[in-house]
Amino acid sequence: MEPVEDWATDYDIFDPAYCADPGPIWADLRQRCPIAHSDRWGGSYLPTRYDDVGEMARLVPALSSQEFIVVPPVPLVDPDTGQVLRDRPYAPPISSDPPFHTAARRLLLPAFSPQAVAGHEPYTRELAHRLVDAFAGRGRCDGAVEFAQQIPPKVIAHLMGLDENRGEDFIEWVRGVLEFGATDPELRVATGLKMFAFWREEIDKRRFQPTGDFISWLLAQDLDGEPVTDEHAMSTCNLLLIAGIDTTWSSIGSALWHLASHPADRRRLVAEPELLPTAVEELLRVYSPVTMGRLAIEDVTVDGVTIPAGSRVLMNFPAANRDPAQFPDPDTVVIDRAQNRHVAFGIGIHRCAGSNLARMEMQVALSVFLERIPEFELDGDAAVTWCGGQVRGPRRLPLRFAAAS
């Protein structure tokens, strides 16, 4: 790709500089072109102000969720039969507009309520300890690969009733769809087909013999007065697996990167663990991982900019969370920041359905890591790699610390 010369008219959300440190780019855009446009990757609009992102999130269904990824969709075609399985990603409720959205969302929410999520905390804590056990004696680890990346796939597998030993497959699939797949449509389709086959098998098994797990429960529910179809269950399970993995793994990784490179914040959290819930919200604000897509199905005007029907809009929650009009000193992590209306989980009707689960995983992951390894630092800043686009977070995070005896 050609290098970006003007971010206001030609931004590239996959540019390595944007993935590594987008803050200065957003600060520049917010001043001179708060809703930017680029023709790259199929073309899109990119808001950077908190108020604009909030207003866009409420333009339902004018800014529709029928296309919710940050690049143009590709059809999923069965290579054997030529049958079009999906003309674009279908993952209710994230891909739905009201009124269907309301029913598809209500179906899922009980499994992700604060009360339900609390039931998965002991498993998550035991898992985090198990992961630290594997590297504590070595004095070095990759905080992204060996810790952050390992927690969400196993927790979501545990929640849904899938085999947690398939964790590495789940990681490969999520990266094939969201990370590497974002800029590689062939990989996205090939991975989508693997996942389609996986869900067909998991659902067939439970139709034949329900097991009492989440998927069996889902299959026994009603949706809008009709029994949940295989089609709906597959699509919703696919969403939970994808959305439950890359996002939280990125948040845990970014938090570890921050604590490794900001020793004063790390030591304060070790000394005052009661600050952890507030610190987690602040780390979510500054290192918000997720940008969602919308499709304008009619012309809309926001902050003086008219976005024509047919345009893709990138819901830039990460930039909204760095807007100085909403957050004083926005680029600084203030781990006891008292007022924090961050929108890391989105805002409006599409608020992340798994936000309580993500928050629990972050709190448990960080509290176990800090308890077991209170002093750690980056093992070579240059070795850290970041990915971005739909989800931003560290993918390599070498850390060093005193080896446990």
Binding site: L109, P114, P277, A338, N340, R341, N356, R359
Partner: protein, 66 residues
């Protein structure tokens, strides 16, 4: 002081409940409401204001009167 949650605005972020579980309940879907009659004991007024100041949907409302 009283708190209430506007059910039209609440999207279940759960920020109020996690900051001030003494003052808020969440239902099975995760949507919040004020506990009991919403009257805030004097020693929890700070927490009530904090819950309001952290709601991304501006759904938590603090009434200073009464």
């Amino acid at each position: 002081m009283r708190v209430r949650v506007d059910p039209e605005k609440c999207q279940g972020h759960n920020r109020c409940y996690s900051l001030a579980p003494e003052l808020f309940d969440v239902d099975d879907l995760g949507y919040a409401s004020a506990k009991g009659d919403g009257v805030v004991p004097t020693d929890l007024e700070g927490k009530a204001k904090l819950a309001a100041a952290n709601c991304p949907e501006y759904a938590v409302i603090v009434d200073d009167e009464g």
